[in-house]
Amino acid sequence: MLFNSFEFFVFLIVVYFLYWFVLKKSLKGQNILLLVASYFFYGIWDWRFLSLILLSTIVDYIIGHKIHDTDDDTRRKRWLWCSVVFNIGLLGFFKYYNFFIDSWVDLASRLGYTMKSTWTLKVILPVGISFYTFQTMSYSFDIYYRKLKPTKSFLSFAAFVSFFPQLVAGPIERASNLLSQISNKRHFSYAQSVSGLKLILWGLVKKVVIADALGPIVDDIFSNYGSYPSSTLLIGAIFFGFQIYGDFSGYSDIAIGTAKLFGIELMSNFKFPYFSRNIAEFWRRWHISLSSWFQAYIYVPLGGSREGKLKTIRNVFIIFLVSGIWHGANWTFVLWGLVHALIFIPVLLLGNNTKYKNTVIAQDSMLPSVKELLSIFGVFFIVTIAWIFFRSASIGDAFSFISGLTEFSTAPYFHPNGYRMADYYILVVLFLCYEFIIRRDERAPFNFKNRYVRFLVYTIMVFAMMLFYDSGIDRSFIYFQF
């Protein structure tokens, strides 16, 4: 069931009604409803994989208690490793097993040993496995680091693991934030519901108007990059940057907005990343829940930046490479992570990684300065080049694409389906302008004081969705495959 489907709309109304009007007085009832709704939501895709979520829930629920119940550090660590091995094992089997077998066979054949890939299995990737395994692991980690006490309520914990708004594509929540809200009584707030609806609207706009509209153009250019000039390849790479941003941040906004409807606040996942002034700022603004997860549970335990430059560089490489492989079982993602690590390290070594921590572009002015503009163009350019690795089917394709870019050939681009390209160029510019206007608060996309302006903006947003709605395309979210 997709967030951008009519089925979800009906599902949401039904669950919302039961939640606030039928089960309003019963926390347990509300949590049972959330759990049932979440399992139903997930089971619509493939009910067989509900068993994985349930298993992951049971294992980490028990492990959480085991870690907490002992003061013996060795035993605590052992239990933590049990959680890590179990969750990474699940992920490894369903997501990476065939990848590693194929890579091993490929490596052997490059070294002159012919091997047959007879061990690969027909494994379906369960939707959202990368997200909920990381979420349950964070629970065990937090208990291990004594930041959290395990919950006694299995129901609350199960609802935390499977909470449907963020189950399949995040934000990857921490138990300290989400579980505590699920365990406590929620109160209906009109303002929170309205704020949730606004975020849902903005998320849908990003998905339908940006991601879905640009998707077919990106697909065409990346599929036929060999027959297009550099100018077209540049359009493809830039559009992909906007497509994936619209798609993923749109999903996150709908998830956060939906959670708000149930009185629950999720963490922000995107904060206008394309207005970043250096790559460190970009990573504080892009997929925040994953970056902060890696920082808290890998980078810091490895020593972070406290143990000398060499170890800092090593740690940065590790988290970016892990981040790359987390996205998918393909070396293109590893290379994407590597590119980001290479760009990030100089910023870190120069001590500029926290430079823009608490400010946004044009913090105290209407327009950005020339220096800021140059910075964001620079970051955007590098990020766009890195996206080529992310989007390409293979490393060879990515390098050929980049090689095509460096030929500096130009010609107007015509989509095979005859899309009026001017519409899309204007669309991207208008989208950037609007994002700039709302850049100060990612959770308030329609924060205009004048009610008439607000009304006009809502209307334009809905109208834009109609103008770019395409019934004939695959409307699923890109990050479902991760």
């Binding site: 089925e7 009026r420 009304f455 809905v462 109609m466 395409d470």
Partner: protein, 309 residues
Amino acid sequence: MLILVALELFVRVLHLGKDSPARYIDEFNVEKWVPNQGGYSVTGNRRMNFAEYHINNSGYNSYREFNPTLDKTEIALVGDSFIQGFHQDYYDSVGKKIENQLDDVEVYEYGYAGYDFADQLHLMHQYKDTFDKIDYVVLGIRFRDDLFRDEYKVIYDRMRLESSMYKNARKIKLLVYAQGIGILDPVKKFPGKLISFFKNSSKVVVEPKQETAQEIEEKQAKYIKNFESLVEKYGYDKSKYVLLLDKSETPQVFLTYLRNHGFKYIDFGESLNSSKTPPTLVFDQHWNNHGRNLIAECIVNAFKRFSVN
């Protein structure tokens, strides 16, 4: 609610929703457009194709009135939406392009979306006096779509669109626009999906059945039989009637039948298929300006040969 009103306003101001002319069944039991109305046909979310239509006194989209006489030379084009031409400005139609190439010839376009061969022959039969005065009649036909029936009957499904409910719904331009871009499809399909979900049949995918050679043969024989029946029932003047078809999409058996029984035809397929520039619209399968030029050229050439003979 206010947003819906504002959207209706946007759609109207930008003219994104197509206008729908009213249809009726005339005194000769022929389905056609109500005479003397005009409007705009719109395709695509963002007005990718925008064309003006004008329904004349005879109930067809045309730049001229149909007044055939024995003194003048007239050509009639009879067919479906391709001849009807809502996808083009009415003053730039195939008929107009033919007139531009021939001196002192009037072209009458009897086009109506959905007209099959039964509709066409029935129309000509009912308006025999008119068509007797016309010198040359071109009937657009697509074998796979136009020979389902062996007798004309009013299609009440189409006429249902003239019920007051549909008429009123069409006044809401936002609804027309939303329907046109397919945004209402998920809503319409939802009850069916819900039923199949509870019946647990959602995972059953019915593969489209591949027709066997024998089935294809039987179908073709049936269509040819329908053609024969229609010709017999409503009459067909082989001396001045000519079929307009795409040979590449027409089964050989039908072409052989036409040749053996003295039915003349114009093949436009060769001209369109060999064209280097696309002959159809981008957001619509109908002929674009270039396509209409090619069609007009085919008909003009055929007419010139007919005139010489």
